[in-house]
Symmetry: C3
């Protein structure tokens, strides 16, 4: 449980650095992330490195007792590099080159850039790899931000062909797997295959899915190249990457597998504005963020790396990049910080130390205002720093232990995006709705990949999972947990075709013997009543289910088709349901799993870490904890935007 901050010495007169460092320490900050956008200052001209200023900056921070998180600067290649190698620039789905002048203007598949990135990484790692103040590393910055994973350049096309050759071996295998006989799309060689864009109507879905897999693998490869260099030159220092919330164009699990620390950047208000939430939800949580959005991400990244996850960038006030940018209510920066720790964060690092008065992000708040006075966020960070001491004294650094697991899968996102069958079939939304229902029942949740061990969980929730990998069904059954499978589970093969025996496919049918013989998607506003063990409405989608042996029907749609079916401890939901039905249903399942689920008041959330219970109040009414123990932070009455931590 440590605090950090993002700092840009290159943006400020050197005369300010020492005072900045001293004030950071005084505030209770331990870690300072630097240099991720500093390439043009490190190498102002080709091959001419200027280390002196950065050396001095690292020394000033180190001398003040701060530990540096050093970054590779590859998110912002300078203009001279682009002018020398224009093929670095990525190409959009519209066929246009995406130009210099902001950031992330590079193609993961560009050989020129791969080489240039390798060179600058080596230079930075060599220079600072063994510097005593450098404690951690970050590769690049926010892979995937601004939709920069998928490029359609000639370089990407060439590497895609190699990727296909490697995966399919020969062209006949590809033709068969994809089903290119449809519409005479058969290929005679891998050389005939182009990126799946610009077609008259939608391109082949299997082609598109493989392109997305390829693009994701390119990110993994690029990151691994950096990690290898850093490891070679900076032994013993953990390497992190700062993932960005729901920027899901690549498989975060695969990138994280090469890191010691999965970090993420948490902007609760910007996320609320930019994500799928309905206008009334955006209005309701305008200045607090949605009570489950940051948690959802904490719980995703907690399991992704060996060391505790970090919040590498924590929103400290209003941001600049959403369509509208309201100010958080007083108390929220503290609340968000504690929520991260409650979910297992190793460090919460604020973005940024001081609001920059220029360029694209000049309206993004920092812990300090541009005229260098401590802002509300800074004051709250200081409070958190003091509270951390009390919490560590009370319980030390303890793990989060959750009995509920929720599956989260990046390929599922890509597949449903490519092949929605209903315009608003949005995987993150459906996964989040299950997660939010669980959290509103007071449950702690691990959000895990398909490959994670399932032992030890009492309850496992599987949001719509189109491709069920071999063995997963058996592991689900063997776990002994209460299982909830979302609609469309098992609906596709690895190649994005329909399973021969129809969904949910042979594997899943071995534990849930049903046959989904028809589906329908419905426009917003259309609901179908559900009656049975639970009642309510279904939206967006329906599976038409034929039940097999031993499967009982717990609820039916108004027209009689099964809505919820169950065999033993395994359930299959034939549709997304409304919020109340979902919460009621998951509450029942949780209690059957022996978990103490109970609906919390609106906006109240509870987490457990070690021996402590953390209570957060996102709502607008005070919440009185019923039977608390000894308070480490806060008290029994938790005011709006308040936090309480107690040992029961």
């Amino acid at each position: 449980m440590r605090l950090g901050v993002c700092y840009y010495p290159e943006h400020w007169p050197e005369t300010m650095w020492k005072d900045d460092a001293a004030r950071m320490r005084a505030l209770g900050i331990d870690y300072v992330r630097i240099a991720e956008f500093a390439w043009s200052r490190i190498e102002p001209s080709p091959g001419e490195y200027q280390w002196d200023w950065l050396d001095r900056a690292v020394d000033v921070l180190g001398d003040a007792g701060l530990k540096v998180v050093m970054c590779t600067p590859t998110a912002t290649p300078p203009k001279w590099l682009i002018d020398r190698h224009p093929d670095i620039l990525p190409v959009g789905a519209d066929g246009r080159v995406r130009g210099f002048g902001s950031r992330r203007h590079y193609d993961f598949s560009s050989p020129s850039y791969f080489e240039a990135a390798r060179t600058i990484c080596r230079a930075v790692a060599t220079r600072y790899g063994r510097h005593p103040a450098v404690a951690f590393w970050q590769t690049d910055n926010e892979f995937g931000c601004h939709h920069t994973v998928v490029s359609y350049s000639p370089a990407a096309a060439a590497r895609f062909r190699s990727w296909l050759r490697e995966h399919y071996g020969n062209i006949d295998a590809l033709n068969t797997a994809w089903g290119t006989v449809f519409w005479s799309m058969e290929y005679r060689s891998f050389e005939e295959i182009d990126p799946p864009i610009g077609t008259v109507t939608e391109a082949h879905p299997s082609h598109r899915l493989d392109y997305r897999r390829f693009a994701s693998d390119e990110v993994v490869r690029f990151n691994r190249m950096q990690v290898d260099i850093i490891r070679a030159h900076s032994p013993g220092r953990p390497v992190a990457h700062n993932f960005m919330q729901l920027f899901t164009e690549f498989d975060h699990y695969k990138v994280a597998a090469d890191l010691e620390i999965a970090a993420w950047d948490s902007y609760p208000l910007g996320a609320l504005e930019e994500q799928w939430f309905a206008p009334e939800i955006k209005a309701k949580w305008l200045r607090t963020g949605h009570p489950d959005f940051a948690s959802f991400n904490h719980d995703i990244y907690r399991g992704m790396s060996a060391l505790p996850f970090w919040v590498m960038e924590q929103q400290p006030g209003p941001v600049n990049w959403a369509q509208w940018n309201p100010a958080p209510l007083p108390g929220m920066v503290r609340l968000w910080s504690w929520e991260a720790f409650a979910h297992g964060a190793g460090c919460v690092s604020y973005f940024r130390w001081r609001q920059a008065p220029f360029a694209q992000e000049q309206m993004h708040a920092g812990l300090n205002t541009p005229d260098n006075r401590l802002d509300i966020g800074g004051l709250e960070a200081s409070t958190v720093a003091q509270e951390i001491d009390a919490v560590l004294k009370a319980d030390g650094v303890m793990p989060v232990v959750a009995k509920v697991a929720l599956i989260w899968d990046y390929e599922a996102k890509w597949l449903f995006e490519i092949h929605p069958q209903g315009a608003d079939f949005h995987y993150p939304r459906f996964a989040f709705e299950y997660y939010s229902a669980l959290r509103s029942l007071g449950l702690d949740v691990d959000v895990i990949p398909l490959s994670a061990p399932l032992d030890g969980y009492s309850m496992i929730v599987v949001p719509p999972l189109p491709v069920v990998p071999a063995g997963f069904a058996a592991r689900l059954a063997a776990s002994g947990a209460q299982v909830v499978l979302g609609p469309r589970s098992g609906s596709k093969t690895e190649s994005l075709t329909i399973p021969g025996t129809l969904p949910p496919g042979a594997d899943l049918a071995s534990i849930m013997p049903i046959r989904v013989w028809r589906v329908e998607s419905m426009r917003p506003g259309i609901a179908v009543k559900v009656n049975g063990a639970v009642t309510g409405d279904a939206y967006h989608w329906r599976d038409f289910v034929e039940t097999g042996e031993g499967v009982q029907i717990d609820a039916r749609f108004a027209d009689g088709h099964p809505a919820i079916v169950r065999r033993g401890s395994i359930r299959y939901l034939a549709a997304p349901f409304d919020e109340t039905l979902t919460r009621t249903l998951l509450g029942d399942v949780a209690r059957q799993a022996g978990l103490p689920a109970q609906a919390l008041p609106d906006g109240v959330r509870i987490s457990r870490r070690g021996a402590l219970t953390y209570v957060f109040n996102y709502g607008d009414a005070p919440y009185r904890i019923e039977a608390p123990g000894n308070f480490v932070v806060g008290k029994q009455k938790v005011e709006p935007q308040g936090v309480a931590i107690y040992r029961s």
Copy 2:
């Protein structure tokens, strides 16, 4: 009255073919359409034809007693052809080439493609032209689908210039006809003229309209080339094309003039979702389709060819291509099938025999599920097959005789699209609203072109008709029918200019002496009251009418301007009206024409063919036929989604 099915032997193991054919026959199917997307299997490499598999497929079908509808495969040129002749690809209005990877990726004006299409057509026609199992032909597939009629390639530009030269003779005639003096757009030669895209603000409307006419003519030419080849090699077999509902970028009448059979592809639910209907209408008819949409198209295509029209593709269950894809209610596949026959269809052919488990349309239902079990649609098709026998026994194959004609004109659609003057002035919508009002009054309707004979009709309804061809007004008057002219009728000359004497132009003014001296368009939500012989609201548009000799004013707008004027049996409506006013008005006119118009209950529709009356119930309440005769199908009480056929 026959049933057919669309079948793709190339998608399935050859071992399944024989069983498929046997089951088709058993179901009551007579016709099997094949091969329209099979080019890459017929000619896998340039010039190397592989006929063996297709020979065997045709034989299997023929041996089972099925008749084959053989297609030319030109909707999906294979990759090797595109790589050899990249100029085949069409160019969008955004200037970008539309690429390979789906279908219809060809430019009607490409000389390379014209030649390649000619070659493959000759090959297929030569191979199967006299095969005893081949009974019919289909050219290409769904001309116009995915907005593929209008291309902006260099080839199209060159042929457009020739087209203009042919139509105008010399450049001065063009400059005068278009009025290029406006904004100094005058041309000195045809070579100076480019396609009308990419301009700073809207391009010249006359230029745009001629480009649309040219593009339509290119489709006619392409289709005629295929028809000529087929006729030469397959004497005696009728040739069809499957038009697509409201894909109106080309003149269906002109293409149909070269065919024996005008077929169309009927997808009532997809159409409802994708067309102009308001959200509440889409919700109301979610799982039935709009009661008048399929009928409207049946009535359009009925008159288009010498042989009875076909539904070449009938929706058999949920589709995949609309934004949302609900499942039809049980009974609807049967209802839709009977509705086609009631309107005169020669064959209803379901798309497709079995749902494909791969590629773009894997979520499009078939008569069978991908695991080869008969789906609801298949069961209902089987019911229809049995009912056909009963109906044929009762009445034979009889014609539809309608006393009401509604004019439908493709150029009108293009003109109003180019030159709307109010953003939502949508010709198909206004034509459909008149049609729907007529049908809700229980009337049978012929939807006819401007060139059709008008004799024998008691009532003629003319939706907004901007260009009134010479002689049409005289023919209208000579018909003796009650006539209703929609707003904007006669508002433009052939060159898209305003008639010298103002709308409705000299010709129409000879039978309806009015002068439209001003117009206005109004944003959605704005209504103007109408009072007089009928009352209600006007929307979207108003003509300001000055009446001439013998013209009486039947209703006025709230500000006193005439809303409905009449001279004898001819009426002119100065605006689109609300649904109730429109129905009341057309009901009054119908009764004046001696037709038995009476408003049917919501969702109930009635058709007559031969001596039989067909009743369809799209609604959600049972309908009791008041004074029926002998029932051939169904009974006096028609349940929701039910059909009844009786001889009165």
Copy 3:
């Protein structure tokens, strides 16, 4: 106070000209604008001028006693010129060349076009510069229409680099001013700088703002070239340009500085439909236009030139170019004309004499219909002509004297567009809302630039003004007026960075010592209550204000932060407020300034010019003037769409 008309002799048979001219005179028209789109007739082929027809047209008009406003035809270069110099065509932000086929298809930075424009201007000015019938000139037509100011061509890029070099001297100065160190966007030379488009995420705001300034300066340069040529060849004839309402991509003040007459084109209904107004506002004023929109523009252009401003194009009936185009109510053409005169217009010139029956604007009404009968607009113009005589007799040509000034600044528009921080922060809207509140209080308003003298005003209203130029604050204070400063005033430096001492910056803080330490933007529908001297709601935006010495808080937001602060006669508003609060507040301020502010009935507006008071009724109820004097036009009871003019 004169009437004019726009006339296109080249569109009509020469046989009609004489009658047209006679009828113009009979109607009371003095001025006829011609030739702005006639290039292809003046120079049908390169270098071959055909003056004869234009000579005759000018003679016919002059012989009839009309005075000609001759135009340069540079808004519509002919096709042969484009084919010779394709680099004339501008390039859009999407990188695509904008083609020939409509108008304004030229790049202000194209050297070829600058030269071609110079040549044709010289030819026209030489031919008609001293013709006795030519009384005025107009350069080009509607600079900025169809978003044609900003181009991204290679020519523009090259001239932009020169512009930057001129403004910054050396590249280090630019890097520092912009803050390119952020995201490594530093440049090593001006040659490295491209236009700010096509970037992965938003381009640098300072870069964008300078590009907009550059593009505006290109228009000034182009116009000045034309003015210089005209002055040289047509001494003594005033030169005008017809600006277009709220086409703000260039600085109208700077172009007007080179002219004798600032004219503008007034289309109240089209503007209402196309501008920011909410649907209910568009419905309310559907056929009258918003009561303050035309006035706002009159008051902008009144101060822009030495001679009285003109309305060069006055809407005479329905137009063609808005999404929907309703017809004005009878009386509105007269009302609009008188409103222009009340605000100081020297001439109201109707667009156009006769509706053209062809090309893009064939649905744009004229004073006459295409069949050459006088339309309603023509009749009302005739009424105005007669009333002008009465008014001139009563009071002569007198100036408008306003005691209230409202600041209007083009750079503010560009800056907030580039850097909104809340998606709907729309500068013209906020400025207009202040203006409309003032007008609804019966006040006369000067809309002035930042550079205008402030002496003599009793009240000065400053809509959000991001960049406060040196000395402006001092001038404000010295004026002695009651001052109202809008939110975000002083929020940026000239380089689009945050002032070192935070907003409102040192200059403004010298008279209003506050510190804006935080801001927030809020999505539509979010309101924050305001309580204090006035009460109501704040929308869109909030400044969080810390008050300095002598600053009192007149109202607070619900959470306690200051909403309205004041020091002496200077107020700062921390947010945009609702309509009622704004009117109440500005009414209070006006009364403190000694002005007779009182809320007028809905839709009623009052103006004063010389000794006369003008009353306009946009509403739907009659308005009775309380204590009028002698009526020159109209009477005490002003009917809807009525006008009254009296001497009190």
